[in-house]
Structures are given as structure tokens and as C-alpha cells.
Amino acid sequence: MTYFSMILYGILPYVAVFTFIFFSIYRYISHGFSYSSLSSQFLENRVHFWGLVPFHFGIIFVLLGHLAAFLLPGQILAWNSELTRLYILEISAFMGGLFALAGILAIFLRRWTNPKAKIVTSRMDWIVLSLLFLQILSGLGTAAFNSWGSSWFTAIANPYLVSLLQLNPQINYITPLPWIVQLHIVCAWTLVLLFPFSRLVHVLVVPNPYLWRKPQMVRWNWNRNQRFI
């Protein structure tokens, strides 16, 4: 256990979460209208579709999987107690990762090759894209070469994350892991750290109220019984 490991797994998480909370609130208060994904869809949409859709579907699916393993470890282990179910879960998660990887590659390609998209791409965008690429690639490497993550996450990552919440970081769960798993964890904390300074903030302002707002009444000013086409 080196001081470097302590910084990466014992201190970086607190710095990242503190920065995330403080600067997200600060940016919302001081530059509320900068909370956006800064859509570049109008500039180019053909390649964009094959980046945007797979990336978001893939990453949301995989993130929800990580959240489920953290919140419901017993249920995940119970599901995995049948090998067929374990394999289905792992292949599905791997598929989500591959989907996100294909998406981020298309996003990279588009932003690099399309002059209009390139000109609106900031240095922070490139950093975040590179980190996301590393994050997805290391996740896929972990899934393929250090299986079965959905099970061992509950035994290794869960107690580590709980120890962080208890302000008693037990980094000895993480330090013996293979380098690719450690890279995955460090990239994750770095993304949390950079979150409030990048266009990732749009995650916080997706139109969630659509799920619980009151229904809207729509009035039509023509006879709806008539077919137009």
C-alpha cells in the first residue's frame, strides 16, 4: 500500500465528490444557462446518430448495472447463483459496454473529421471524451479478462464504496486488483472530478420532471375524425 494508492483511492474520491457537489451548485447559481449538452445536432446528424444513440443507451444501461450491484448486492448474487443467468447478465453488460464504445468512437470520429463539429469542440470536451473512452475500454477489459465482475463487485467494490461513505476508506480492497480494474476506478473518480467543468452537467438537467409533471391537455382546432393522409 503506497502513498500513491492512498491518494488515488483514499483521497481522490473525497476531492472528486466535494468538487462535484460544490462546483455543480456554484455553476448552476452563477451560470445557470451553461447547464447544457451544447447540442451540435444541427451541424451534422448522420454520423451523430450512430454516436449519440449507442453511447447513451450503452452507458446508461451499464451505469444502472453498477448502481444495482451497489444497492442490491444480495439480489445480484442470488441472480448469479445460476450460471446461465450469470452469463446472460455478463454478456448483456458487455454488450452495453460495446455499444457505448462504438458510440464514443463515432463521436470521436465526427468531432475530429467534421470541421463544423470540430470548431465547437473545446479542450475539456477532448479530455472528457478521452477519459470516457478509457473508462469504457478498461471496463470492457475488466469484464472480459477479469470476470465475473457482477459477482465480485459485491465483495470488493461494495465494501470499498461503503468504507468511503463511512469516512474510513479501506483501500486494501482495491490495491491488489489488476491494473486494468484500477484504471477503471481512477478514470471514474476523475470523471466525477471534471463533471462540473464540462458539458457532462447536462446529466443533472435532463427533463426528469416529464416523469411526474401533471398531464397536459392538448386541444386540436380541426376535426380529428378526418384523415389527412
Partner: protein, 279 residues
Amino acid sequence: MNLKIGLFCLAALGISVVFSQTDPGQYFKANCKVCHTIGGGRLVGPDLKGVEERKDRPWLVQWIMDPAGVLASGDAYAAKLLREANGAAMTPAPGINETLAGQLLDYIKTQSVSGAAVADSYVPPTFTTDDIIAGKNLFLGKKKLANGAAPCVSCHNINSMFGLGGGKLGHNLTGAYKKLGEVRGLTNWLKLPPVPTMNPIFSKRPLTETEIISLTAFLKNEAETASAPTLASIANFILYGALATLLLFVLIGGIWNRRFMAVRKPMVSAGKYFIKSTK
């Protein structure tokens, strides 16, 4: 603020670790006993009775502190120890320092005088078919481990498994029975596996005596009966994942295949039809 709390907690943790491990007797029981006895015979590692008669203290201190480094230096005696342990390398001792290593050697020296030779009196348990089946169920996770640890298959593979096999985070356990000192060595080792990845887990969620017996029975049977792995499971896993991804791409291509259709044109046609039909 959070950073300060985090730093304080880290410092507190470090201090507590150092203080809790300074008693060499306690330290030996917690960290060394799973692989070594003092006068009780060989387990995974050698019997440490009179160890300083076999090798000098500076070498032993260096070995305790950095076994991997000594092995990597090409030391002949370290290589001999590794061969005798069937390739099971000495694991790094947690929180070790030069003073503690010296204290451990003092403790071993004291115990070597009083250490009783119990190796000859050890009678290995006899395993039944039920033990093997119970061990297999525990390994695969079909039966939950009593103290809530994740099943072996989460991280380990064995050659007799079909499909995509077991986990690859840890070693393949097909040869673990022989490598870890057969019945006596393995049952002792499983009480608190000294592997850095497993130690934090099983120090809080240890295996029960019954589970250790069942798993040992299963791994013994595995070592005696299993053949070479039947499938290249990592390649298959990647292949299945890639095929599923391809299918998903076809699916989204199908769902959104009209996405580039113009918006204005159909609206104008609809409007014209509307105007005509209302005249």
C-alpha cells in the same frame, strides 16, 4: 472540509493498523499461521521451527519484507522454497517493517523451543460424495456461504466447468489442492486466505468449518478428476457480446430507419389534403 476529514480518517486508519499489529504473537496468528507452523509440520509453506538455523537473520528479514523482490533477484534459496511450495509464492506481509520482521523472528525462536511436533499426529478427514456435492454447490454459489462472502466462481475458474467457465480475476483452482498443501494445507489456508485480494473479504466474512471441509473435498476431487479446459471461454464471451451488439445495431437501425425523412414535406401534403377536403 471533506478532504480534511478524509485525510484524518486515513491517518487514523494507518495508526490503528500499526498499533493493532505490533504484537508479534498476534501478528503471526493473524498473518502467518495459515501457511506456516512452528514445529507442527509443513503446510503451504515450510515449518518455521529453527528457521534461523537454516538461513541467517538479515536474509530472513529481507525475505519477510519483500518476498517477490528476493525471488526476482534470482536468489537460489528463495527459488528452492518456491519449488518446495509447488509454486505457491510467499505473500507480502501486510504492514510489515524491519522492526516487526525482527520481532517475528524472535517470536519464532521462542516458540521453536516449546513447539510440539504435532505433524505426525494429524489425521486428515475422510470425504464423502455429499461433501464433494456440497463443495461444488458452494463453489458455484448455488448454496450461499454462511457469512455472506461471494462464491468462489465469482473470481475463480475450474477446468470441469462448461460454458463460459468461472471467474478470471483469481487463479484457476483446478490445481489448488496440490499447490496449497493438500488436505491439511488447504483446510488451514481456507481459514483466512493470505492472498491480498481475498484477505480483506474473508477476514470479515470467514468460511465456516463445514464449508472449508466441503470446499476441500470438492477441490481434491477436482484435482484428481478434471481434464484440460474444454472451451476458450474468454474468446467465446467476447464473441457472444459482439454478436449481441451487432443485433442491437440492426435493431436501432430498423427502429429509426425513417429518421432522415423530411418533416416539412409530409406536413405540406397533409395541409393541402386538409384544405381540399374542407372545401
